[in-house]
Symmetry: D2
Subunit: 102 residues, 4 copies
């Protein structure tokens, strides 16, 4: 299973890009994959081809009206582990013996 975090921004569409981000989130939400929105991106959980298919859909939608796009993707893949969207934080909290801000 793969945790994939990504953020995708158009260049040349002004300083505020939240309308484009909102469109991506519509696609993500409709994908049915477990996801988490953070202040810096979106984290998806699934198999490689599942999460990558969602990122690509966001890209295809954005390129329809944005000629230049930057995207950063970070992947943490671990065999045989699912439920890590919640589990990774819980494991760190358990080690520290207290809850953290999330």
């Amino acid at each position: 299973m793969v945790l994939l975090e990504f953020s995708m921004n158009p260049l040349g569409k002004g300083e505020s890009v939240s309308q484009y981000v909102a469109r991506s989130l519509d696609i993500i939400d409709a994908s049915g994959l477990p996801y988490r929105l953070t202040p810096m991106g979106t984290i998806l959980e699934g198999e490689w081809e599942q999460v990558m298919a969602v990122v690509r859909q966001c890209y295809e939608r954005m390129r329809a009206d944005c000629p230049r796009i930057t995207c950063s993707i970070k992947i943490d893949a671990r065999e045989g582990k699912s439920g890590r969207l919640a589990g990774k934080i819980a494991s760190v909290e358990q080690r520290l013996g207290r809850e953290l801000r999330k």
Copy 2:
């Protein structure tokens, strides 16, 4: 104000590195800066020198017993905007007219 997300991992310390992550979170928590833990990293909010000082502290602590360290940092800096740790998600939700998983 700057939003800075980072993750820092030792190489060569085995497949599970949560004890090292926990130590970083102790430093982050003690810094007093607003922060948010995500399944893929930690997001700090503050001025450039404030957030970078915390990342450096984590690095100095980790290098004490980890000879090789990888770190990725993503920054979103916007003049005159604070409270973005909560505000960025709220702005996207408002545009979509519904709440998202976070």
Copy 3:
């Protein structure tokens, strides 16, 4: 056309991971896509599905014997522009009026 830079590392395989990086480079070299090796990753040029197919091949190869893998990907997509693997640096050099170390 897309410029995609990526680096992919196993966790838990020791401090030096160059044997795994070398295997990825074999895959990249055999892909036939234009690429550039840097001290921090590899940059591919092609259409989205082409460059992503190469990254996935590297992932499939690595996961065969590495249970945990981290990967970071950075994409710069620009409609109607090809030859940017060489062109981006040339454009900055032209603006500065001198050559830079590359």
Copy 4:
């Protein structure tokens, strides 16, 4: 010693941002640190505080006329190893027994 790759872009300054990139490269070139320009960013080699000081200078210069800035940074730190700007690629090439495109 630290290898640090970074790219820094303004949002809301149009689709082509090479004039801003050129200013950063002036700062980098004047820093005296070993560096390498790639099609996707710039790689610096030095101690943590040295390379971070250069990134911060680029940020301070850019924020003077860019209200929103995104920046991504990737760090590979390894105790007691210098000359890695050239050495990392050489080590992979040696393993493969041939030269690669760089």
